[in-house]
Symmetry: C2
Subunit: 431 residues, 2 copies
C-alpha cells in the first residue's frame, strides 16, 4: 500500500471542466419550481460527473400567474414553438397528466432529445410507445421519479439484467392512502385523516385518484411493464380504493396481528399475470406492514430471495432530487440504455389466486351463523375475533371467486355487505 501511495503522491489528473447541459423544462408548477430551484442551487454537485445543468427555458400554460421560480430559469414561455426553438440537450417533463405532456414528450424524443419525466399517468398510458420512439431516435426516456420518487430502483434494475429477474412484486405506491390509513390506525377518523392529508399538502384538492387506487394502478402498470415484461391497460387492473374501510376495520386488523395497507400486487411466476390494487391485510411479519405515513415501499420477489425498498414516495423536493439525478445518470451513459421492446400482445391481468382473506362480518343473523354460511362455500375461518360489535375473520386460503360467492350469499341472508380483503403472505411462497 505504501508504494502505491508514493506512486500516486503527485496526481496528474487533468482538471475536469463540466460541460453545460441545457435543460428545457415542461411545466413550472410545484414540482417544476422545486426542480428549477434545485438545478440552480445544487447543480454544482453534478460538476464532478462532468455536467453543469442550466434551465434554459420553461414552458408554462399561462404567463399571467406569478412564478417565483422564473428567477432560476433563463426564459419562461407559454408558446411551445418558442420552447422547442431553443437548443436543448435534455427535456424534463413535470406537467403531469397525459395531455399535453404526451405530445410534448413525443416531440422532444422525435427530435432525438432525451426526456426525463416524473409523470406516472403518461408512462402508464404511453410508456412503451414512447420508449420505442426513443429507441428509434437513438435517445432515452427515464422516469425514476414516477414511482416511489424518493427511492432509486427502476434505473438500477434496468441496467442489471440478472438482478431484474423478478417473478412478482408487492408495493405501497400511494402516499396519501397510506398516510390516511396510518392516521386512522393511530386513532383518527377517515374524514379527519383525509382533511389532515389535504391540509399538509399530501392529498390533491380532488383526492379521488389517490383514495380510489387509480394513482397506484398507474404505477403498477409501469412496474408490470418493467419487471414483468407485460403490457397492460390500467383500466383492466382490478382496482379498489380505501373508502370502504373505517377505523374499526383498521383496529381489527391490528388485533389480528397485522395492518391494512393500500397495496399494489402482481405476480407472473405461473405464466399468467395476476394483479390487483386495493387495501389488503398484511401480517406484522410482512416487510411492508410497518411502512407508514407518506413512506412508500416495494417488495421484489426474485429466485434468490426477496428484496425490499422503502423511502419517501413523493413531494416536490423529493421528486426534484430524483429528476436531477436521472439527468446526471443519462449524461454519463456510453450508449443509450433503452429497455428492449416488449413483443407480446397486451396481457389481461386477472386476480384468481388463492389467499387467506380478512373479512368483516356484521348485521343479522348473528355473525357466528354468517361464518357457518361462509363454510357452505368452503370458506373456512382460521381466526374469529369480535371487535367493537362486529366479528372479524382471517380465513384459510380461498379464491376470489369463492369469496365473492360467499359474500353474495351473506348479503342475501343479512342485507349487509361483508368487507373482504386479501391477506398477502409474509413470505414469498413461490420460491
Amino acid at each position: 500500500m505504501t508504494s502505491v501511495v508514493e506512486t500516486l503522491s503527485a496526481p496528474t489528473e487533468p482538471a475536469c471542466v463540466p460541460a453545460t447541459l441545457r435543460i428545457g423544462q415542461l411545466g413550472l408548477g410545484n414540482v417544476g419550481s422545486a426542480l428549477a430551484r434545485l438545478t440552480a442551487s445544487a447543480g454544482e454537485r453534478l460538476h464532478p460527473h462532468g455536467i453543469a445543468p442550466v434551465t434554459t427555458v420553461a414552458l408554462v400554460r399561462s404567463l399571467s400567474r406569478p412564478r417565483p421560480a422564473a428567477a432560476w430559469v433563463g426564459r419562461v414561455t407559454d408558446d411551445p414553438e418558442v420552447f422547442f426553438a431553443q437548443p436543448l440537450d435534455l427535456v424534463v417533463e413535470v406537467i403531469g397528466g397525459v395531455e399535453p405532456a404526451h405530445s410534448f414528450v413525443r416531440r422532444a424524443l422525435d427530435r432525438g432529445i432525451p426526456v426525463v419525466t416524473a409523470n406516472k399517468s403518461l408512462v402508464a398510458a404511453h410508456g412503451e410507445t414512447l420508449s420505442a420512439l426513443a429507441r428509434r431516435r437513438g435517445t432515452a426516456l427515464r422516469y425514476e421519479a414516477s414511482c416511489i420518487a424518493g427511492v432509486p430502483f427502476l434505473g438500477t434494475f434496468e441496467r442489471r439484467p440478472l438482478a431484474s429477474r423478478v417473478h412478482g412484486l408487492t408495493a405501497i405506491l400511494n402516499g396519501t392512502s397510506n398516510a390516511i390509513l396510518s392516521a386512522v390506525a393511530a386513532g383518527a377518523s377517515f374524514q379527519e385523516a383525509l382533511d389532515d392529508a389535504q391540509r399538509r399538502g399530501l392529498a390533491e384538492p380532488d383526492p379521488s385518484a389517490d383514495v380510489s387506487g387509480r394513482d397506484a394502478a398507474e404505477k403498477l402498470t409501469l412496474l408490470i411493464r418493467r419487471f414483468g415484461q407485460r403490457l397492460i391497460d390500467v383500466d383492466r387492473l382490478r382496482t379498489e380504493g380505501i373508502t370502504a374501510l373505517d377505523s374499526i376495520d383498521v383496529r381489527a386488523a391490528r388485533a389480528l396481528g397485522g395492518a391494512l395497507k393500500p397495496v399494489a400486487h402482481a405476480s407472473w411466476n405461473t405464466g399468467a399475470l395476476q394483479a390487483f390494487v386495493g387495501p389488503a391485510f398484511l401480517s406484522d411479519a410482512h416487510p411492508l406492514a410497518r411502512v407508514s405515513g407518506v413512506t412508500n415501499g416495494i417488495v421484489l420477489d426474485a429466485p434468490l430471495g426477496r428484496q425490499c425498498y422503502t423511502g419517501p414516495g413523493a413531494g416536490p423536493d423529493v421528486t426534484a432530487v430524483t429528476l436531477l439525478d436521472d439527468l446526471c445518470e443519462l449524461a454519463g451513459e456510453r450508449h443509450v440504455r433503452t429497455p428492449a421492446p416488449i413483443e407480446a400482445a397486451p396481457a389481461s391481468p386477472r386476480w384468481t389466486l388463492e389467499t387467506p382473506w380478512f373479512i368483516r362480518l356484521s348485521g343479522n343473523p348473528p355473525a357466528l351463523d354468517t361464518s357457518e354460511l361462509l363454510g357452505t362455500y368452503r370458506i373456512w375461518c382460521r381466526q374469529l375475533l369480535p371487535v367493537e360489535g362486529r366479528l372479524y375473520a382471517l380465513t384459510f386460503p380461498a379464491t376470489p371467486d369463492r369469496i365473492k360467492a360467499g359474500i353474495d350469499a351473506v348479503h342475501a341472508a343479512t342485507g349487509s355487505w361483508p368487507l373482504a380483503l386479501p391477506a398477502l403472505p409474509a413470505e414469498d411462497d413461490a420460491c
Copy 2:
C-alpha cells in the same frame, strides 16, 4: 398514440451483435465456481446490453484440487504470469482476504483493466488507494457484491449525486450473526444456532469474523467511505460481537417491544464521525427490527427522509449475480465512473452519542438496588422488566461514558457484569 404505432410499425433497428468480453477470474472457490457457471449459463442475458461474457482464464492457488467449475473456464492456471499474459477486458476478484488479492487487483488496475470484486476485506483495507490507482489509469473498480451482496445500492448512489447526500446509516451487514440471533429468538440456544448456521453453510468453519463483528466492521468501513466521505481504519471502529448474548437476553428484548440485532451504525450529521458495530436493541418500529435470518439491510438517513434497502446478504449464487451485473454495468458506461478522491485525513470514529440503553441487571444485591445505583450515575430506567430471574431495563438516553461508569460501579458492587447495548431510535431524529 395510434399514429406513433404506425410510424414505428416497420422498425429499422440494426441487429445488435454483442461484443465478447474476456474475463479473467481471480479465484475459483465457492463464489468463483458459482460465477463461472452463471457466466456460462446466463451470459446471454447480457447480450441485449451489448456484451457476451466469456471466462477466459481463472487463477487458482493449487491445480491439484478437483474443480468441476473448470468446465466453464477457458483455462485454469496457478501461475499469475500465465493469468496476466492473457488478453483480458475485465478482471473479477473472488479470492477473498487482503493478500494476495490486493497485489493481483493492483496489477490489473495498473494495466488499465477494470476490476469487479466481492471482497470487503480488500475494499475496507485498500479501497481508497485502489480507487485512486483506477482513476489514475482511467479504469474502474466496482464492489457492489462486497456489502449486502443481493441488494444493488452502492453503484446506484455512486451515480446519483443528490440522493447520495446521506448523514448517517444503520445496517445489518452480517448474515451469520443475524441468522444466529434470529434462531435464538425462535427458541434455539446460541450454540445450536451457530452449529445450525455452520451446517447450512452460512458460517465459515471458523466463524470468528462473523460473530466477533469483524466482518460487519469491514463493511461499515467501506460504507463510511462511500456515504460519509471519510477514511477510517477498521481497527479503530468500536466493534463488539454477539457472543456475550444469550437466549434470555433475546427473549427479554422481545418482551420490551423490540429485538436484538447485530448492527453497524454511523452518523456524521454533527461533523464528527460517530460509529459502532455490535448488537443493539431495535424497537419494533425500527425498519430493521424484523430483518431476520440471512437477510441483510441498510437504512440511509437523508435530509428528505429515510430509505431502507433489505435483501439477501451473501451466498455464492447471490454474489455471482451481483458480480455479473456489475460487469454488465461497467461495460455500459460512457466515461469511467470513479468516485472523487477523499481529501481529508483519516477520521477517528468515536461513539459518544446519547441513546437509550438496553441493560441486563443480575446478581446480588437485588437488581432493584442495582437500578438505584445506576441512578447515582444519572442513568434512569424508563422500563424495568423481570425476565426469567433477571431484571432488564430500557433507560432514558445516556452517553456511553456514563453507562460505562454505571456498569463499572454495578460490577464493583455485585461482582457480575451487566450487559449494556445501545437502543437505536426508530426514527431519524437528526432531521
